[in-house]
Symmetry: C2
Subunit: 208 residues, 2 copies
């Protein structure tokens, strides 16, 4: 059975590879803004789960012919800070502002997940869910912030921080699942796979 990751995120791919999967990557080009406009006032968990489902379904329809026996995994992550959902910063100035507001405080990372099981190239079973992880940001100094901004790393990611890169120095702790912060919750994905009748260990690559 083929595992297909419906995401362009190198961080998600890296999490899955470290955990023993070797997914095919197929990027879904969904219109996120249009999808979200159809859900006015929806809570963050519903938004990210809806987007994850749309990404997975788009990719499932595309790969069904080539990979009739597969599971397709879609994800979407957003950071909630002071009641506001934030994505990637527009530039270094916005990233600096965000960090000045986040430093010493907390945010909530929402990741929606959708797991679609294909049989004979058709979507046979679907399991969806979301996970939330609280992130406690360090009270970093101006010099540290400027050095971090200069790496370019915070400009490329939702919420302007990473847990698996240099941002890890500036996250004092989390409450929840760390892989969820990186963009794909391993324990939730495991439960969703079980929900569509697939044991995650059956998908593992050989270890020796």
């Amino acid at each position: 059975m083929r595992v297909v990751l419906a995401s362009a995120s190198p961080a998600r791919l890296s999490v899955l590879r470290a955990a023993g999967l070797d997914p095919l990557v197929e990027v879904a080009d969904v219109d996120e803004e249009a999808l979200l406009e159809a859900l006015p006032g929806a809570p963050p968990a519903e938004k990210v789960t809806h987007l994850a489902g749309a990404k997975a379904a788009t990719v499932a329809r595309r790969v069904g012919a080539a990979h009739p026996d597969a599971v397709v995994i879609g994800c979407d992550s957003m950071l909630l800070i002071d009641g506001e959902l934030v994505g990637k910063p527009s530039g270094v100035e916005q990233a600096r502002k965000r960090w000045r507001a986040m430093a010493g405080g907390t945010g909530e990372l929402f990741t929606g997940h959708a797991v679609l099981r294909l049989a004979d190239g058709e979507i046979e079973r679907v399991a969806e869910g979301h996970a939330t992880t609280t992130v406690r940001f360090a009270d970093l100094s101006d010099a540290e912030l400027e050095a971090y901004l200069a790496t370019g790393e915070p400009l490329a990611v939702a919420g302007a921080f990473t847990l698996d890169g240099r941002g890890g120095w500036f996250v004092d702790g989390i409450d929840g699942d760390p892989s969820n912060v990186i963009g794909i919750s391993l324990p939730l994905t495991r439960r969703l796979l079980t929900g569509v009748g697939v044991g995650v260990t059956e998908l593992w690559t050989p270890t020796r």
Copy 2:
């Protein structure tokens, strides 16, 4: 300034590399049992910090001549389950027993840290501390446990689980710093570096 990691752990090295450091690895061969016998009844935090300090000091004395301007980082991790400190399992049977006891429950990962700053080859400043992270283990099935044991991964690590490998599927969440679970807390190391007068961002490798 050279960064020296006084640990043979590939997981610690990997955490530091992902976070922008390129440490020299120098393994300390301290007699852990003898060191712990000198601290009868000490709490876990004191034990791991004492071992971390001994490892860092041993390596600092060894590398001082070759690397007179350096910071040496020592770490030691232990998992506390049901009031008992556990290290690496003795074999597959002990790993299976541990997991049957841990599944659906929690453990506490203690990591002691010592940061020694060398100047002119001598230990000039020392900062020590520990971090504790609570780990919530999934209620995994017998089939999942057997598949995990068969990978050999849990046999090589303290507490018989990893967060950064296939064990990640079976950790439902944590409360604390995830890098601490892998064996070196980035935010604590950052604070200890500050404590010896070194900004972590000054140690970063170039990004481009």
